[in-house]
Amino acid sequence: MAPVIALRSLSKHYGDLAAVDDLSLDVAAGEIYALLGLNGAGKTTTIRMLLGMVRPSSGSVELLGEPVRPGPWARVGYLVEGPAAYPELTVVENLTVAARLRGLWGRRQVDEVVERLNLTAYATRRAGTLSLGNAQRLGLAKALLHKPELLILDEPANGLDPAGVAEIRELVRELSREHGVTVVLSSHILTEVARLATRIGVLHRGRLVRELDAGELAAQTRRRLSVTARDLVAAEHALHAVGFSPIRTDLGALDLMDDRAIAEPERVAVALVAAGCPPVRLVVEQDDLETFFLRVVES
């Protein structure tokens, strides 16, 4: 089966700067593919090339089996670099503009997407008065209005509160699972990507440095048990004594990388209490994006 997205040796240069460098990847139908990278990694430039907004310096892009110019845009929904709306138009009017430009003249699609994105209470509000979170919902509503086969989202969780992030995550999952929508999204939030994507491409300085499945990402993003005690030296000795290998951090904590410690942190707590230096903080932490990246890049 032909990939929904096929990038071949895609590059974009601005003078000497390679914003995207020799990027090749395929995204299959129904996948949720995340482009993960730090700010400036080339995620947005890649997405803009996917959408035909930026011409590649070299290489090719195909969406749904077609080149991006003129492009299969009736089957693609997108949200690029945060939401934008006509401030003097209401939510419904903004969606009506988007619908007309997609050749949809009925009101049904607008009403459906307003309800789906929980915008009913704001339907007659001017877009200029919306909170950032609701403006982001409006942007997503425009992307979903025409029930696209392919959804391209640049940092879709930006500006949303935790409940909003969870809601969007569930929406994207549902679109993929129940409607077979292929989703490509970019993010710099590793935990968000880990929860949502089925496959991840790690971009760094414009290059695809790693591509991995969601399961592989969980294995790659190291977890550790971070322990703090009032007497750190005594706690270190106590943990060594029961077979752990604590590592002292610059932040005055002990990190335990052992699977046993991460799986059963209560055993660590018991050992420390028994040694007379009970923990004041005991938490399983995951690599943040920077740490993960440094490891990926260094490797």
Partner: protein
């Protein structure tokens, strides 16, 4: 194209900018009427000092030929400003409000969107011109200006209409500048430069070769002794108008939209 036109009309209808431009042309017609009112009584004009002096610049007589000529000249100079602002708003707002990205990957082509914007600009300027003419006719009738004839009125209205059409054509490069500069400022800058150089070059006597001076020459702003712009001037206006539309459409279609 119909889809794009419908959205552009909706956006324009919901904006305050059409009302601002309508107010500007209402004021222009009113100021012309005020000058006529003053000129109807020279003693009253002198007693009003500065206003009397300015009013006398419009012409010596308060009659229909003078008033219709004033309306055409207002369209040439004021029109460049007001019609130019219409173009700056229609194109610059998409970049200023960052909504342009939602117009670039759609079943409606970018060229259709650009053409729809130009059609709305032309319709908008047509409505403003009709408003100016209607207000002018009402004001002139209320003031009971002498010298009316159907031929004179038809000729005067045709001059205003032709001046407006030329001025609209000359605003297309302003739309291009607002697009390339990705906002309002570049469009306003080009518009002010065009108005400034139009005055200077017309004053130097080369106005017929500078398209932005042509509407003013055509409307008779340079006085009865000055030559009309001629066919070359009119062709240059047409060329600039077409070039502005083509350049804007090509830029929207081909330029990297990376901001």
């Amino acid at each position: 194209m119909i889809n794009a036109l419908a959205t552009e009309l909706l956006k324009a209808r919901r904006s305050r900018v059409p009302w601002v431009t309508a107010l500007a042309f209402t004021v222009a017609a009113g100021v012309g009427g005020l000058f006529m009112f003053i000129l109807q009584d020279q003693g009253r004009a002198r007693s009003l000092g500065l206003i009397g002096t300015k009013a006398s610049l419009v012409g010596r007589d308060a009659d229909w030929p003078t008033y219709l000529a004033f309306l055409a000249q207002t369209t040439a100079v004021g029109g460049m400003l007001v019609f130019g602002l219409v173009s700056v708003w229609l194109f610059g707002r998409e970049f200023g409000q960052n909504t342009v990205k939602d117009l670039l990957a759609l079943p409606t082509s970018r060229t259709a969107i650009v053409l729809a914007k130009f059609v709305v600009a032309a319709l908008w300027c047509l409505v403003l011109t009709v408003q100016l003419v209607v207000l002018g006719l009402v004001i002139g009738t209320v003031l009971r200006l002498p010298g009316w004839s159907a031929d004179l009125a038809a000729s005067g209205v045709a001059t205003v209409g032709a001046t407006a059409a030329m001025t609209v054509l000359l605003t297309t490069p302003i739309a291009f500048a607002a697009s390339v500069g990705r906002g309002y400022l570049s469009g306003v800058g080009v518009m002010m430069a065009a108005i400034f150089f139009a005055q200077v070059i017309a004053a130097l006597g080369y106005g017929r070769y500078f398209p932005w001076s042509v509407p003013a020459l055509f409307s008779g702003l340079a006085g009865p002794d000055s030559d009309p712009p001629g066919l070359l001037g009119l062709l240059l206006v047409l060329l600039v108008g077409v070039a502005g539309v083509v350049a804007t459409a090509l830029w929207w279609r081909n330029a990297d939209q990376d901001r």
